[in-house]
Symmetry: C2
Subunit: 200 residues, 2 copies
Amino acid sequence: MKTDADAHQRMVEKRKAGFEKKKAAATKEKGLLIVHTGTGKGKSSAAFGMGLRIVGHGMQLGVVQFIKGALHTAERDLFSRFDNCRFLTMGEGYTWNTQNREADIATARQGWEAALEMLNSGDYDMLILDELNIVLKYDYLPLDEVLAALAARPANLHVVITGRHAPQALIDAADLVTEMKLVKHPYREQGIKAQAGVEF
Amino acid sequence: MKTDADAHQRMVEKRKAGFEKKKAAATKEKGLLIVHTGTGKGKSSAAFGMGLRIVGHGMQLGVVQFIKGALHTAERDLFSRFDNCRFLTMGEGYTWNTQNREADIATARQGWEAALEMLNSGDYDMLILDELNIVLKYDYLPLDEVLAALAARPANLHVVITGRHAPQALIDAADLVTEMKLVKHPYREQGIKAQAGVEF
């Protein structure tokens, strides 16, 4: 069908022109504050996908995992192979297994002190603060303190913050926010158990 | 504040009990059809996070990348290091750079034939069909043919399909669907250019 093919070609040309125009208008370079939130899957995995690219480019990646177990062993092992990645795992299991709020607050503070040091060091190109949103949601850390530190970070440092329930003030401060939205989940609807590769 | 701490402890105990109950009810094991869609970022990265776990567990991963360039070089290089991963890149650039619909259809068919072979071989634990949704969106492949092949695959094979605009019939057929939703994007709103690690 000639007409269809012509229409398609006009569409791709228009789309390409739009893409090029948008690209030409984008000239600024700065460290981005990136947030992955929502109740769907893939928030941490997508952050670590970006982290892998940083590492692949020979740039410096820092990771603070605020909740142990939130990142899968296979991913953690992978990052540990690279010299240009510093990986810290804080926390003693998900908070709903820890029967003590004061201990959780102390653990969150320990993670945050490590993150602050990396944030201010000037040594990193990207910092992933995995599951920090959860820590903020439970008020384990003062939101104002975290926002102030993020705002005062080196100008070219990308920061990626993951976890469900990102506070609105953090979303307001961010440059790039993606919500991972749960559309369907086999656990809830079909009684399917956790399987290697998919869940761990 | 004692009362707050008590309330928190009750909440974590209740949450843990709910989690354990749900986990006990989930006993089935089967290959999942997983879809990552939406206009936000992280669809492919989150799929490749799962792929890394498969590879990390010593299981077999197959990848067909339907649109060249959709996956970042750093990620592609990473997968090429592993023996238990077969990685195929089909397509000659994003479709909006290809000025010929018939060529795109032929390219899509080539990718699909490769995917079909992997799908039916019984050699894989997970297959990632990266950007297949786009190919379906443009009607480069007949949706019915794709759905029938997915339904007839080996029972324990996980398939992960990525790309914006997943067809509703695919969502209906899927076990796990996550929509990556764009909340804020620095390109569009701030004129910030593509930066290493974040975008490529």
